[in-house]
Every structure is written in structure tokens, then in C-alpha cells.
């Protein structure tokens, strides 16, 4: 599930920078090639940051529009952190627009209804699927209770597979700050997930 950097090879990285160069000169097709490569990761970041697929879709659209508008401010280096930073800012704007805490509460009509439909595991029975759906809702809810900077750090590290250095570049902070945010985010999630497990068990009794 973890999403390794698309331009893992240097040849890939060079090709990507070439696309960026052409995009800076107004080549929309070149930019759209970048969109195709990164849209899944950007969408998932937005989804985990803002909680609902509708908000995530708006956030992703805004992120790419903003990236194209500001392509000339990309100063070289790795493209992915730069793009994800713009995406994170778009998420912040989206959250402010919607004036709410991200993610649905557990009392939503259908558990996990805000979750996108994914391909079910053929080997697993319906019970397993239902449980996983509820577990997913728990994680989504727990994430929503984290402060934004901790949430972003944890998502980038544990869901997007970013290294500390890439996270530092994305969040424009020191590696020490990155470690601190990740540690505190995980600690908070640990408490929330444990608490939810306890109350979940109570509900099933």
C-alpha cells in the first residue's frame, strides 16, 4: 500500500524534471503528464487529510490548478515534496472552507459510508470485510482528531511512504520537528485507537 516515490530511478527523476521544465514554458500536456503520475497520491493525501471523498476531490483539483499557476516557483530538486506541499495547503483551505473537523463520525448512517469503495479481498468472507470497514472508520476518525501538522506528518510517513527528509521538505521544517510530529501523532493515535477498541468491544457485548 505504501506509495514509493514514482521517480525512484535517476532517469525517472530526470524525465520528470524535463516535464516540469516544459510545463514552466506553458506546455499544458507536459503538466498533465505530471498530473497523471501524481494524482493518485495527491488524492489519497487529500482524502486522509480532509476525510470525505467530495472534499478530497475539490482539494485535489485545487492543488493541481495551484501547482500549474505556481510552477515557476519550483526551484528544482525533487518535484513530489513540492507538489505535496501545495496539496497540503489546498487541504487546509478546503477544511477552512467547510468549517468542520475532517471525517465522518462513527454515528454516520452506514459505517464507512464516506470511504471510497475498494476492491474487496476475494479470499475474505463478508464478516471480515465488515469488520475492516468499521476499523477503517475508526482510523479515519482517529486521524481527524489529530492536529493538522501531526496528521500530515503521520500520513506522509505511514501512508505515503515518505522518508523523514522528504517530509521535512514538504512541510518546510527541520527533521527534528518531523520526528517530533510523527512521534506525537502516533502516540495520540495509539491512545485513540485503544480507547475505541475498548468501547467497540463494549458495543458488541
Amino acid at each position: 500500500m505504501l506509495n514509493p516515490a514514482p521517480e525512484a530511478s535517476t532517469a525517472g527523476a530526470d524525465a520528470e524534471l524535463e516535464l516540469v521544465r516544459r510545463a514552466r514554458e506553458g506546455d499544458l500536456d507536459a503538466f498533465n503528464a505530471l498530473v497523471e503520475t501524481h494524482q493518485r497520491a495527491v488524492y489519497n493525501l487529500c482524502l486522509r487529510m480532509v476525510g470525505s471523498p467530495a472534499a478530497a476531490e475539490d482539494g485535489t483539483q485545487d492543488a493541481f490548478l495551484s501547482a500549474y499557476r505556481h510552477i515557476s516557483s519550483f526551484r528544482g530538486g525533487s518535484f513530489r515534496p513540492w507538489l505535496m506541499r501545495i496539496a497540503a495547503n489546498a487541504c487546509t483551505d478546503e477544511l477552512r472552507r467547510r468549517h468542520r473537523r475532517p471525517a465522518a463520525s462513527l454515528d454516520a448512517p452506514i459505517a464507512g459510508s464516506d470511504e471510497p469503495i475498494d476492491v474487496p479481498d476475494a479470499a475474505a468472507g463478508p464478516e471480515t470485510l465488515a469488520l475492516r470497514s468499521e476499523q477503517r472508520a475508526v482510523v479515519v476518525d482517529a486521524l481527524s482528531r489529530l492536529p493538522a501538522d501531526q496528521r500530515l506528518a503521520v500520513i506522509l510517513c505511514d501512508m505515503q511512504g515518505f522518508a523523514y527528509e522528504e517530509i521535512a521538505e514538504t512541510m518546510k521544517c527541520s527533521i527534528g520537528t518531523v520526528k517530533s510530529r510523527i512521534a506525537r501523532g502516533r502516540e495520540k493515535l495509539r491512545g485513540l485507537l485503544a480507547a475505541e477498541q475498548m468501547s467497540g468491544r463494549k458495543r458488541h457485548e
Binding site: Y68, I155, R186, L189
Partner: protein, 254 residues
């Protein structure tokens, strides 16, 4: 149990951040080795590490959603919001601040210039004279009072040394005003020719020192001028440069 209490008191050696880093496979080799050794002995930390790994696993197990649609930008959408001009290079970005700073320096210098000008300048000139004539003034003071009381109250009446004293005492008089009191003196007491001559010499000396002081003063004035002109030029140039760039980038954005 002891370890648990230590953990609660936060005196436990590997803190949350160190363990988090450890779980990510990061950190210096020695640190990792020492944490691993510690984990061998510490149940509490072992469970903390296990909990952290569970959190990581839960997050990683969240399904990666497919993009609901293509987010390729359409030409029409893009034309509505054209690309922003590249940000101004560093030195150009400093122009507004530089302009503002130059204006502030200009104002301060101008203020100092005006504050140390003529009135006080005259004061500076005569107070340098006053230093030398102060003894004279101290001696003359009682005789001035006596003379003023005894003689007709002609302003220019006083004896020559009183003149000098007068000039020194009334430190804030303009040099011109001091001269003014001398003229009636020459008219009122034609008989005291020697005293008048002495007065004239005193007057020359005073004028000379005032000139000397105003030469210094002129030097100061020049310095002030130079600084004022320079800061004004910097302020205007930087301000115009920043304004021109700003207008250019607005054009580009339209």
C-alpha cells in the same frame, strides 16, 4: 513495575520520539543497538514498541483509493487563472524594505540637521566664548547690578567688560543682537573711547569665533547635505524599482 513507574515519571531512557524513530528503522547505529539492548530488559518499552508498530500497521493497511476521475487540467480552466509570474529575485524583493529604511534614515538625519541648526548653533558658538569669559562675567555681575541701578537705564550703557559679560551671560542671544547693544554704547558714551576700542576688539574676537564655529557648522551642514541627498536618492531609486517590478508582474498576471 519499577520500569513502569519510571515511564510514568518520564525518566525512562528511550523517550517516545526515540522509540518512534527506532520503529521507523532510523537513528544512529549505536542508538539503535542501545535501544535494542534496553528492550531486551524492559517489558514496558517492549509493549510501547509493539503499540507503535500496530499504529503503523493500521495506517498502512488503509486502502489506497483510486482517483475518482482524471484531474488533468483543461485549457479553458487554466486560461481563467493564468500562471503567476516567477517570484522576484532576492535582491529585487528587498527593494521596498530598502526604500522604507532609506526614508527613515533620511527623516532622522533631516531631523538632526534641523535640530542642530542656527539657533542652537549660535548657542554653541557663544557658549565656547562663554567658557573663556565666564570669569569676567562673575566679576562683572555685581557691578552690572550696581551700574544698572545707579545710571540711567540705557541698554547700551554698560562698561566694556560688562559687554563681554553680557555677551557671555545671554548665551542664547544672536550675535546680531549682541552687536545691537553695542551701538547705543558707542553713542551714549563717546568719552570712553578706550573702553569702546576694547569693546570693538572683543567684538572682533567674538565674530571670529562665531565664524570659526560657523565654519565647523558649515562642515557639519555639508555632511548632513551629503547624507540627506544619498538617502533620498536610495529611497527614490529603490521605491521606483519596486513599483516598476510590481506593475510589471501585475501586467503579466492579467
Amino acid at each position: 513495575m519499577k520500569n513502569l513507574l519510571d515511564v510514568l515519571r518520564r525518566r525512562h531512557k528511550p523517550d517516545a520520539e526515540a522509540l518512534s524513530e527506532f520503529v521507523d528503522g532510523r537513528g544512529a547505529a549505536e542508538t539503535r543497538a542501545s535501544i535494542e539492548a534496553h528492550l531486551g530488559e524492559c517489558e514496558a518499552c517492549r509493549s510501547r514498541v509493539a503499540a507503535l508498530r500496530d499504529v503503523r500497521a493500521s495506517l498502512a493497511a488503509m486502502p489506497e483509493a483510486e482517483a475518482p476521475r482524471s484531474f488533468r487540467l483543461r485549457q479553458a480552466a487554466v486560461e481563467k487563472q493564468p500562471r503567476a509570474a516567477p517570484p522576484a529575485p532576492g535582491w529585487l524583493r528587498m527593494m521596498p524594505a530598502l526604500s522604507a529604511a532609506a526614508v527613515m534614515v533620511f527623516v532622522v538625519v533631516l531631523g538632526a540637521d534641523l535640530a542642530t541648526r542656527d539657533g542652537a548653533g549660535g548657542q554653541m558658538a557663544s557658549s565656547s566664548r562663554g567658557g573663556g569669559a565666564s570669569e569676567l562675567a562673575a566679576d562683572a555681575a555685581p557691578s552690572i547690578a550696581f551700574d544698572a541701578g545707579a545710571d540711567a537705564p540705557v541698554p547700551g550703557e554698560p562698561a566694556p567688560n560688562e559687554d563681554a559679560a553680557g555677551g557671555a551671560d545671554d548665551g542664547d542671544d544672536q550675535p546680531g543682537a549682541t552687536r545691537g547693544t553695542d551701538e547705543p554704547d558707542a553713542n551714549a558714551q563717546p568719552g570712553t573711547l578706550a573702553q569702546t576700542a576694547e569693546a570693538a576688539r572683543e567684538e572682533q574676537l567674538r565674530a571670529a569665533s562665531t565664524e570659526a564655529a560657523s565654519d565647523d557648522d558649515a562642515g557639519n551642514r555639508t555632511a548632513f547635505r551629503v547624507v540627506e541627498v544619498v538617502t533620498a536618492l536610495v529611497a527614490i531609486t529603490a521605491g521606483v524599482g519596486a513599483l516598476a517590478w510590481w506593475m510589471r508582474s501585475r501586467e503579466a498576471r492579467r
